[in-house]
Symmetry: C2
Subunit: 390 residues, 2 copies
């Protein structure tokens, strides 16, 4: 599979802006303010790993009419200057006296008017990536303008992906598919878990990942205690179950799925648990189509993995996926979001094998007009057993 061309044509961003502006009119917003990596990228295409540095705030102002304005640290101005944006304003950050607040206030007043209403994400699964003190100063400075919740507007826009976005996520999944296929060559009894983690990340890079922002690799006898542990230096032992769960990135788009491996041999309980996880994924796939609700997929899987207990401590059985490792909707009992064509989801059922020991399986799918398609190559019901590594 050839890599999709890097970046997007301007038309992609124009379409996003049109949708945003039509939703803003409906919501009574004169401007949007976004501050996080995924939201900034959504409106601009600004792609950098520099978000790893929490020092500097970044602001994009989306007016109800007209083009977005970037109000950003000067260190990012050349890169932002290569996006489709025309209006890039910058200051030398960090500046403890005024870290962009006055510049941002001016931009907001310009586009939203002296008594305008500015929406910013404030709801579940969001945060504001700027100092709280500066946010208070901004609110004061721009009054009588008001800052209020965008009521989930930006998340709703991002939830439905274009074909171009889906192609990028699909490509990331294909890279992970190939990396997982090589795991028998890098892991087996006696290999330290941290070595497996390093080698697996190297495989992801070799197969074409630009970078590997996420890897969890819990491993324990007959199942693992949690799904977010990093690797330690303990060697893999016969009877362990190893999970590799990766969020790798290509051109700024994530995959997020895992594979389980039995070390040396698999007990009947392990084999059975793995088979039921695959059944749960298949049950969700049968329902996954436009009109079904996020909670419907949850219940289909929960019926199989807990007998319908209503969930477990991992908290959800799947989620949205795109330029974030995880995003909405959430496959939980309380999420009644209707699925739409273009939504990309993970199906991530977990099952308790014995007290405090679980297995979790994950696949990535896209909702199409008439059903759903796998973006990851779905795993077979039989768990892969790893012998001596090459």
């Amino acid at each position: 599979m050839n890599a999709p061309e890097r970046g997007f044509p301007d038309e992609e961003y124009r379409a996003r802006l049109r949708r945003a502006q039509s939703a803003m009119v409906e919501a009574g917003l004169d401007a949007l303010l976004v501050t996080t990596e995924a939201d900034v990228r959504y409106f601009t295409g600004f792609l950098t790993r520099f978000w790893e540095s929490p020092t500097r705030p970044w602001f994009i102002v989306v007016p109800a009419v007209g083009l977005p304005i970037a109000v950003i640290p000067s260190i990012g101005a050349p890169l932002m200057g290569r996006t489709w944006l025309h209006d890039v304003r910058s200051w030398r950050a960090p500046d403890a006296e005024d870290d962009g607040v006055s510049l941002l206030g001016e931009a907001l007043r310009e586009v939203a008017g002296p008594a305008g209403i500015v929406g910013t994400p404030m709801g579940p699964e969001t945060h504001l990536r700027m100092p709280l003190g500066d946010y208070a100063r901004l609110a004061e400075r721009i009054a009588p303008m008001r800052l209020r919740s965008d009521a989930g507007l930006v998340q709703a826009l991002r939830r439905v992906k274009s074909d171009r976005e889906i192609a990028k996520i699909h490509h990331a999944c294909a890279i992970a598919d190939r990396a997982f296929a090589h795991v028998p060559e890098i892991a087996g009894p006696g290999v330290p878990l941290s070595t497996v983690a390093r080698r697996f990340q190297a495989l992801c890079l070799e197969e074409g990942a630009d970078w590997v922002p996420y890897l969890a690799c819990p491993c324990d006898a007959g199942g693992y205690a949690d799904v977010i542990s990093p690797a330690d230096d303990r060697p893999l032992a016969h009877g362990d179950v190893l999970m590799l769960d990766t969020g790798l990135v290509h051109d700024g788009h994530f995959c997020d799925f895992d594979r389980n491996f039995a070390i040396g041999h698999a007990t009947p309980a392990t084999r059975d648990a793995h088979r039921r996880l695959i059944e749960a994924v298949d049950a969700a796939m049968t329902l996954a189509r436009p009109g079904a609700r996020a909670c419907d997929l949850f219940h289909a899987m929960d019926a199989i993995v807990t007998g319908g207990a209503g969930g477990s401590d991992t908290g959800r059985l799947g989620h949205g996926l795109g330029t974030q490792l995880t995003e909405g909707p959430s496959l939980v009992p309380g999420d009644t979001t209707r699925l739409e064509p273009g939504m990309v989801l993970t199906l991530e059922p977990g099952i308790e094998v014995s007290r405090g020991r679980i297995l979790v399986h994950e696949e990535n799918i896209v909702i199409r007009e008439t059903g759903a398609e796998f973006l990851s190559t779905p795993a077979a019901p039989g768990i892969v057993v790893l012998g001596a590594a090459g």
Copy 2:
């Protein structure tokens, strides 16, 4: 160099807590609330890559007297249960109705009393990692308790590293040193930049990095336009200058330094620029000792790289380093922080070679009682030239 043992003994966390609580008393705070990866880890040792998922909020409550309380999503409870904390409270997140707010409110009231004062980071280089709407709900729920700025208390604590922390950062630096030494084998004229980026990350892993959260690799003729660009697929060309700037992690601790490479050959202008960057680092090293101010190091370097113009668009000439890629203090004219033994800093001068073309060099150092020591192995004044890669 052997890797330092993973994690810290409980004594490390007890010492942090003692310092925090003594500062809290002085600041009139009954409790601290922290929400970000580095702050949560500082008080608990909780280490996971799951912060890549922005979905769930995580809360640590530090009382003025007694042990910290974790109020966290149940998906993290087993891992948090393996830290030194005794009191771990959890809920099944995400929960759009109440994503930990009531549980957090109870914990705060318990430790800070009905009219207590709770500090949380609100100043420069901080943010609150929870939904703004939930923060407003929390404030309402706990009134008449008050949430106010911690006045930089947590940042001040984290700024001074223990010998155990310094050993971990030093180890991360040594891994990067070894990876940089292999660059001539993986990069040269004709190799696509994105391939160089992949191979370099693989080198970092091979040399012992747990993961590689940051890599910038700008590359252009005679110098680059910015320092935060990700790699594209363009092949390296004769006359290019390539910068590899990596923040790799070992056991949760970062290094952050770069190396420059001339592709095929180096012009006299490139050689001279590189030599002056090394001079600038040396000038800062001469001053770097307890009592010197962050701004003093800035001016020492700025005199050499801009002739004393007072800075450039990259915004600062170095910064703190630890469990974040970048943290305070900032080497800028306005930062008068006094250096103390145990502070780990980057020295990161940049120089304009021609209009819009820069070179930036970076080393990592630690402040000791009588001066400073390099944690990265300092680069020689002569820029490394890359011929055909192996």
